[in-house]
Amino acid sequence: MHGNKDHQADQIRAISGAEDRKCMKCGKCSASCPSYDVMDVRPHQFVSYLRGGDIDAMLNAQSIWKCVSCFACVERCPQDVKPAQIIEAARLMVIRQQGENYLSPDDVPELLDPELPQQLLASAFRKYAK
């Protein structure tokens, strides 16, 4: 459904602007990640999978819904690989497909509470839906 592997890897590189080939596998990205414990695919693995062309592993990862975009991995990467941008590109590849949104307006009423800031809805829709 996503076209051929090399093309997909190049698409992810183009969307993310990330530089997986500069990775020296130090693991600082995953060590910095606040969602590490609940990720099936960890930040350093996204970098490795992109480098190895294992695109399905990235697009099927539940981690794309667990990354909080806190940019800790981006800040602390000594090689400026920008792992969060690879995860964002994988998320975009998924939600840009018809019917693959992770959040629908119909889900919202039961998620609301009186204190919930508008900013939360705006940001969640930007991250989870197209």
């Binding site: 909080v68 975009s69 806190c70 800040e75 959040l103 204190e115 800031p117 900013q119 705006a122 991250k127």
Partner: protein, 264 residues
């Protein structure tokens, strides 16, 4: 000094207290916030995809409105600040994006172009760099003596530091210096620049609560009695774990209190 002011969606609704106190204090401190007309929601998260165009336009429109008045643009919400600052950087650096965005802008009712001319400032940066914390301290009428306050920075003001250029991303001091200026005692705790969970608290409530609990526990262990933040989403998430033991308030609330402007 007059600045263009971009309040953002939440400062008009759930975070009115952040907005109102900021405006009141600005006048006392000698600067004016002039709200951008017909601003649109910035989207609350920076669109990281290099091919994302439409999602960057609301920020560009606000940035352009400020450039027309030859004013810097000021934000309070950390998320708005993050989006405006990064989109502006893109409009300076990325020539392809510039071309595509300006093709859109050519279709607006009054066509215009934008190339990243505007300076994007956070309110705290005005306090530090324009007013100066010493001058702020001199205007304090009710010093918050003896109050132990933890600065909660979160992510979006600090990272990525190459673009945000707000403070040292691992050892920031701007909020601690602010706390000292209003006469209180800053409580430094290691997790002050960790993430509260951000937007994930909509669908992953347990995960977000775990993250904010870690931050709250850390701040409490160092003796904080209250946390301050600039971000409505941080405030919402930080209230979840144990809001009674460790309340979180906006920095402008304490600023107004210190300047003798607090409204009940």
């Amino acid at each position: 000094m007059v600045y263009s002011y971009y309040p953002g969606c939440t400062l008009k609704t759930k975070a009115k207290v952040l907005d109102k106190n900021a405006r009141l204090c600005a006048e006392v401190l000698g600067f004016t916030l002039e709200e951008v007309e017909e601003w649109q929601c910035c989207g609350a998260v920076y669109p990281m995809g290099a091919d994302e165009i439409a999602t960057k336009l609301p920020a560009v429109r606000a940035l352009h409105a400020a450039s027309e008045k030859e004013q810097g643009i000021v934000t309070l919400c950390s998320a708005c600040h993050h989006v405006l600052k990064r989109v502006n950087e893109d409009m300076c650096q990325n020539k392809d994006l510039q071309t595509t965005v300006n093709n859109y802008l050519a279709q607006e009712e009054t066509p215009y172009t934008y190339h990243g001319e505007t300076t994007v400032l956070h309110y705290l940066e005005i306090l530090r760099d324009q007013i100066g914390f010493d001058n702020l301290a001199a205007k304090v009428k009710n010093p918050l003596t003896g109050r132990k306050i933890g600065a909660y920075y979160g992510c979006m003001l600090l990272r990525p530091s190459s673009v945000m250029q707000f403070d040292d991303p691992e050892n920031p001091t701007i909020l601690e210096d602010f706390i000292k200026a209003i006469g209180a005692e800053p409580v430094v705790y290691p997790y002050r620049n960790e993430c509260c969970g951000g937007y994930i608290s909509l669908k992953e409530k347990a995960l977000a609560e775990e993250m904010s609990q870690k931050i709250a526990d850390n701040a409490l262990s160092k003796g904080a009695e209250v946390l301050i933040t600039a971000c409505p989403l941080c405030l919402y998430n930080m209230k979840k774990p144990d809001g009674e033991t460790l309340p979180t308030v906006y920095f402008t609330e304490l600023l107004a209190e210190a300047l003798g402007l607090k409204e009940e």
